[in-house]
């Protein structure tokens, strides 16, 4: 069988980049995207510069990926943004931006990749949730709400796509030391970590492990699930 083809959003840096390199090291083909150009160079990697909330651009990318690689086996909807702020100090434009990237972006990529997967009668979609949703973290109202929408979308889409052999799940990472949390005061991060059963930062490997679980052939009976890391429930 030809090597699997994965579409990963938000591959310029952080978790998305790590996932892309990890899949490439296994011999997979990977199509990634980000707003800015990427310096990831690999013969089996194709990068697309786009905004994940731009419907026409997403359609063009998935269409091009399908022509180039002839299939899409895996979609990892990693691209996401956060903004920490008290509700009373949050501009509407910030909420719009967060929902555009986190919810609309996830929706558009899932829809377009699922169209390819429906014809293959197989596929795996992994979305990104967050522990901020079940923990109801103060200062993260818009971010947590956007990821709550992703969770709901994951569960409904899992039902709609099950007849086509496609599973849809989500991983809910704890804070990982990436750009998303670098600007948060240390005291606040400590308080957050204390809310986890296992009180440490997550690592990229922790996330890859859960993504891998969803992608395993043996996980064909697992869909509509959200797995939080760090013992958050």
């Amino acid at each position: 069988m030809a090597s699997p083809v994965a579409v990963i959003t938000g591959t310029r840096k952080g978790i998305g980049r790590h996932l892309a390199e990890n899949f490439l090291a296994r011999g997979w083909s990977v199509a990634g995207c980000s707003r800015d150009a990427s310096d990831l160079q690999h013969p089996s990697y194709a990068h697309y510069q786009l905004d994940v909330a731009d419907e026409a651009a997403v359609r063009r990318m998935v269409s091009d990926v399908t022509r180039r690689f002839e299939r899409v086996d895996v979609l990892v909807n990693n691209a996401g943004i956060a903004a920490m702020n008290h509700v009373l100090l949050t501009p509407g434009s910030s909420v719009e931006r967060i929902f555009s990237t986190n919810v609309l972006g996830t929706f558009l990529f899932a829809r377009e990749c699922a169209k390819v997967m429906v014809r293959q009668k197989s596929g795996r979609i992994v979305n990104f949730a967050t522990v901020a949703t079940p923990l109801n973290l103060e200062g993260e109202a818009a971010y947590a709400a956007s990821k709550a929408a992703v969770e709901s979308f994951t569960r409904v889409m899992a039902r709609e796509l099950a007849p086509f052999g496609i599973t849809v799940n989500a991983v809910g990472p704890t804070p990982v030391e990436t750009d998303l949390v670098r600007n948060v005061p240390a005291e606040k991060m400590e308080r957050l970590l204390r809310m986890q059963a296992i009180q440490r930062y997550g690592t990229f490997e922790d996330i890859v492990n859960v993504v891998d679980f969803f992608l395993r052939e043996e996980s064909a009976f697992v869909t509509g699930q959200v797995i939080y890391l760090g013992g958050v429930c």
């Binding site: 359609r59 063009r60 269409s63 091009d64 399908t66 022509r67 169209k115 390819v116 429906v118 014809r119 007849p163």
Partner: protein, 99 residues
């Protein structure tokens, strides 16, 4: 794409999705969805995906058959092979070819 090519794409796709209906039995006036339609709602979803993907990959035409205009039309374009073919022809005429 010629109107004939579009119609035969619709017929081929409908046959693929509903193989119990022989190719020759699916004609322009065949009802696809709704009263006496040969497709249930799940099969209609598959038909839309099949046609969109074939237009993209085989004809390099990028159209969305489920845009807001289609959904808000008083008369659904998904009624018959002929109405769907005409709808696709109209959309393809407006579409920018893929690069």
């Amino acid at each position: 794409m010629t109107p004939q090519a579009i119609e035969s794409l619709v017929v081929e796709s409908a046959h693929l999705i509903a193989p119990q209906h022989a190719r020759g039995s699916i004609r322009a006036e065949t009802s696809l969805f709704g009263k006496d339609g040969i497709l249930d709602s799940m099969a209609l979803v598959q038909l839309v995906v099949e046609i969109e993907q074939r237009l993209q990959t085989e004809h390099r035409v990028d159209v969305s058959l489920t845009d807001e205009r289609a959904m808000s039309r008083a008369k659904s374009p998904f009624r018959t092979v002929a109405t769907l073919s005409a709808y696709i022809a109209a959309l393809a005429g407006e579409a920018k070819p893929l690069g």
